[in-house]
């Protein structure tokens, strides 16, 4: 495939130091005969938002699953916050995961628990916080920051798609992760709610100084949230650059994403 990587100046966030929080090198992964990732290289810098775009089934989600150790790659290396993920034992991986937030496409709220219990779960089970006052305070603060203070005692089945995403985001952020991984955060939402979630992702980046990888095929979400965009096709990154750079690319395949 033609290598058309755009290497012009990128619009990195103003206060971004050069320190890399995630470094993926030569990552490959196959399922049976199908190779979904082919020699992937990716670097996420501190405070940066990277968007990975591509068609469905191209291996975008598998990349971030390899980063958190949910999938074991066939070859390559994944370094997160200075640690080689593939060399960690169960306990070390658990410790590393406490520093990473992962928002699933479906938000993955625990449907047998209320919003309050969903948010208190990571505090009590992951951070092992015992002080009920502190737990309540952090839950209220986090729900307030995603604009859902009124939903504290609701069950997930009572929430709309956008509200589920917000609560999922609040549950992920409550442990104050350094890195956020978003798997299709706006999929299944109406354009207005999708836009709200995208702006929320940017607010989170600014407020909590998180570094994020956002997997999406939503152009508007990419435009709002990305400091840098990677375009993926058939398991490879075929282009890299800012939204404007990629939009004016001459490559037909890249152009097809931005129509």
């Amino acid at each position: 495939m033609e290598d058309i990587k755009v290497k012009e100046e990128r619009s990195a966030p103003q206060d971004t130091p050069a320190e890399a929080v995630i470094t993926v090198s030569h990552l490959s992964k196959s399922f049976g005969d199908k190779q979904v990732l082919k020699d992937i290289n990716l670097t996420l810098k501190k405070g940066e938002n990277i968007v990975v775009m591509g068609k469905s089934g191209e291996g975008k989600s598998i990349t971030i699953q390899c980063i958190v150790g949910m999938q074991e790659p066939d070859s390559g290396s994944v370094k997160v916050l200075g640690k080689e993920v593939l060399e960690l034992n169960d306990e070390e991986l658990k410790e590393l995961r406490k520093r990473i937030g992962f928002l699933f496409q479906s938000a993955a709220l625990y449907d047998s628990m209320s919003v309050r219990d969903n948010l208190s779960f990571p505090l009590t089970k992951v951070l092992k916080i015992k002080d009920q006052k502190e737990i309540d305070q952090r839950i209220e603060e986090m729900l307030d920051s995603v604009g859902l203070s009124d939903a504290i005692d609701k069950m997930p089945s009572d929430l709309s798609g956008g509200m589920l995403k917000r609560v999922g985001l609040a549950r992920t952020l409550i442990v104050k992760p350094e890195i956020m991984l978003y798997d299709e955060p706006t999929t299944g939402l109406d354009p207005i709610t999708g836009r709200e979630i995208s702006h929320l992702i940017v607010d989170i980046q600014k407020k909590y100084k998180t570094s994020s990888i956002i997997i999406t095929h939503d152009l508007e979400c990419a435009k709002i949230t990305a400091n840098r965009i990677l375009v993926m096709s058939e398991g490879e990154y075929i282009a890299e650059g800012t939204y404007d750079e990629l939009q004016s690319s001459d490559n037909e395949l890249v152009k097809s994403f931005f129509i």
């Binding site: 958190v68 995961r97 406490k98 992962f102 699933f104 496409q105 993955a108 625990y110 779960f121 990571p122």
Partner: protein
Amino acid sequence: MNIETNKLAVKTWLESAGDTCIFFYKFMRNTFSIEFEWSEFVRQCYEIGYKSFTLVGITSFIMGTVLIIQLRPTMVDFGAESMLPKILTVAIFREIGPVITGIICAGKIASGIGAELGSMKVTEQIDSMEVSGANPMQYLVATRIIACCLMLPLLTILGNLLSLLGGYLAMNFTDKVSFYLYFSKSFNSLTFTDYLPAMLKTVLFGFAIGFVGCYKGYNANRGTASVGIAANSAVVTASLWIFFIDIVVVLITNLLF
């Protein structure tokens, strides 16, 4: 069936056996951990024990009643009507009570656990728990299996007592039998060897129900259909394990006692 199909079947079976062993190892490691989830364990005891009691109780009561009604004419023919409490008690405590309770619980509890965990798996809730740094094996699996091991014997004891009560009422349909005489005849016929192996059996039944339900649910594939498959498969597998455990324990206890 050709050789390739056989090879594939053997490979699938070996993979499944390997997965089961790994799941068992993880369960053991998380059960004997200082971070055992006691509050979730208590909640599961309530869900598994208390919420199954009505079904087990009613079924056991009817079982005792029906057994007496069915046995009575034959016993009368042999002039051994007075043996009815003893026969019922030994049959219920040794075999019928544990197995019936086990089968009922396989249907209710194993399917419930299989469907619940299967649905959590399909909707990425288990992945979400794992990726957040929490321990789903400890929170979801260890608590459910241990709760089953504890609740099955208790449900069986209560079920057995209700079976005897059902038998007592059935005897009073035709004859007037004193409550004291009936129960003293019943319990005097029981020995240690009637009781202990049967109780041991129910702990193993509980383990089989909890383990199979959790394993099938935890390893459900993606897609809503797999939730149904996990629940169905959990009931079938747990029921077969109950009969298998039953015969093994009976053979062993016959050798020992």
